[in-house]
Amino acid sequence: MRWRLIKTEPDASMKQVDDAFNEDLADSVLVTKLQDLVAWSRAHSIWPFNFGLSCCYVEMATAITPRHDIARFGSEIMRATPRQADLLIVTGTVFRKMGPVLQHLYDQLLAPRWVISMGSCSNSGGMYDVYSVVQGVDKFLPVDVYVPGCPPRPEALLQGLILLQEAVEKDRRPLAWVVDETGGAERIAKPNQRDLRTPERMAVTQLAQPTTVGDAPLSGELLSSTRSDRREK
């Protein structure tokens, strides 16, 4: 057994030890409410289901790769089975033949579960108003975030994921299994991002011109073939 004697009145040397201990404590101990902690960790460990329909899937896969690196947001763990995943990203065209399969997969996701609709086809049918395509996955699945684009850039998907995370972090779910009317799933709010961002977007006055590439230098021979030059001819 290890033991030591301490003085009944603390002196300066002991005060020092005490301060260091409190500092360490502040660095390594987090005091919070359990439900806040759960919401925070849910938001930052959303595991997507490895599910792809068409072109958008390639851009989703691109979001995992180095330049975009979805791991920064805690969502790099792609699950091959819906039973281990929290998030269904509907990447691509929802076909009538595929619809029942998709519904079956969604049913296997355990609550809490979220759906991101990625790309125009999945949002609304997009350019495919045609007999074999369901006009938007929200015809049969509840959607939390819509990501526009055909296909959306990987950055757009990441933005969608961040929006979802912000909503999930604010969401307080019961910590125990409860039976209520909603089945434990509360829909998250979907504010219109276009309206929110319009002032910021309208403030941009300098747009990149399609006739030049960033700051690339103009070489002499190239100048002779630019559009303005040839118009004079």
Binding site: L105, Y131, T212, L222
Partner: protein, 588 residues
Amino acid sequence: MSELADQSATDTGVAMQLKAQFGTDCLFQPTVDGIPTFWVSKDRLLPVMSFLKNQIKRPYPLLLDLSAIDERLREHREGQPDADFTAFYHLMSLERNEDVRIKVALSDADNRLPSLTPVWQSANWYEREAFDMFGIVFDDHPNLRRILTPPLWEGHPLRKEHPARATEMDPFKMTPEFQQAQQEDLRFVPEEWGMNREAKHTDFMFLNLGPNHPSVHGVFRVALQLDGEVVIDAVPDIGYHHRAAEKMGERQSWHTFIPYTDRIDYLGGVMNNLPYVMAIEQMAGIEVPPRAQVIRIMLAELFRISSHLIFYGTFVQDVGQMSPVFYMFADRERLFSIIEAITGGRMHPSWFRIGGVCQDLPAGWDAMVRDFIDYMPKRLAEYERMSMQNSILKRRTIGIGQYDTAEALDWGVTGPGLRATGCDWDLRKKRPYGGYDQFEFDVPIAHNGDCYDRCRVRVDEIHESLRIVRQCLDNMPGGDYKALHPQTTPPPKERTMEDIETLIQHFLNVSWGPVIPPSECTMAIEATKGINSYYLISDGGTMSYRTRIRTPSFPHLQMIPLISNGFLIADLIAILASIDFVMADVDR
């Protein structure tokens, strides 16, 4: 018609040979693309096809395409026999470097045809597709059932009376009963495919792989008959990605269909625009200026590199190497920064136009392209050491999923899959289109025809594409990026400001789209995955009367049972990866 027959006899050998064999039964039809086209009666179909494949000197071993046309609303059919439906067969001869098209007239009351499967096994899926889309019945077909639409579908979508838009039909509702019925209908029943549930000493297991599985590259399903882990037989099931591009072609104007072509082979980007716009240009008689040609080739080759990089990464990932795919996607991002600077888009720029390209190249493009083609070979050398020389990868892929040239042609395999068997058939070399005759490049081939060789050929093709891009960079001609032909869409904007005639032309071209004279034309190119061709029929309108899209991946998937039976499931994954398909390229 007899003078047409005489005319055909003088310009091609096949007309003479057919005439000698079958007398006047073969009716010649002139087409814009110069492919000899003959009408035969349905009872002569099998003898004619068998003659063309087996007996004729320098035969036609490749069934490139088989589909049908709904003729009931077509106005311009001068010189063609009466028909409600026409089935057409497109054959290709490597020895002759020539094609031939055979057509059979069918009436609505009697739309039955003998099945071509005794002559070409690859006709199986094509006939199922024609049955699904047009309701044409092929007698003696081994398993004539729907292939693209769901099994419970009503009607035949490419018939003119079938609605095109989803919004013309009843809204889609997912009731539990509907889901249950559809799912039940997808249940695999081995007996329907002539499979036994047990053999003398074993009970077979049936495994359903897909339509959502990480290693089937999209929504593709294959049902496997297994003895332990050994694949005894496989039944590929497609149609989960049917986006109805061919029906779409009948309602979009010639110009506004271009974005839909991008999404056929969605890794091929603008490469898909090429056969489509070239077919229209041929029908309208548009000459594309050299600058536009070279820009097109450069972008098409950049997209070939991009597509092959994804293939490379996913292929080695599927056989167990987890890291390389990350490097290859990073390279693809570099490539996309060029594509973005030039076209403004990433995967689907829709950037080619009828008569040229959308815009001129932006100032500074050359530095970006040069950076990339200087950077890429070093990376490829690294990947070569990391992946292609990797002993595990070699053992997983050499000798797996092997086929020879004859089998490949018989099953309609084209592209790298054919060149891996030692056959140097590359349309860029054999039938240089769109200016490819101006470039120096080699056609990489390999000889074993296995998974490893299919990867080998694609890796070597990346090097050749870089060579072509460098030549584009060093020799980019000046001049216009769009033809001055009145059908060029949209016409050069600058000229509309000068006189009323060009202003009217511009207005009509932009609002209605160009009117293409009544004609038929096929344009085939060497796309990233094989031969991609568009067979366009104009009835003299602003829209196509029939758009037939022949995609390479469709026949490639049909071949899976042949090359995977007897291997393990893990080998099947390597085989699937080595085929390099995307489902949009299969189901369209």
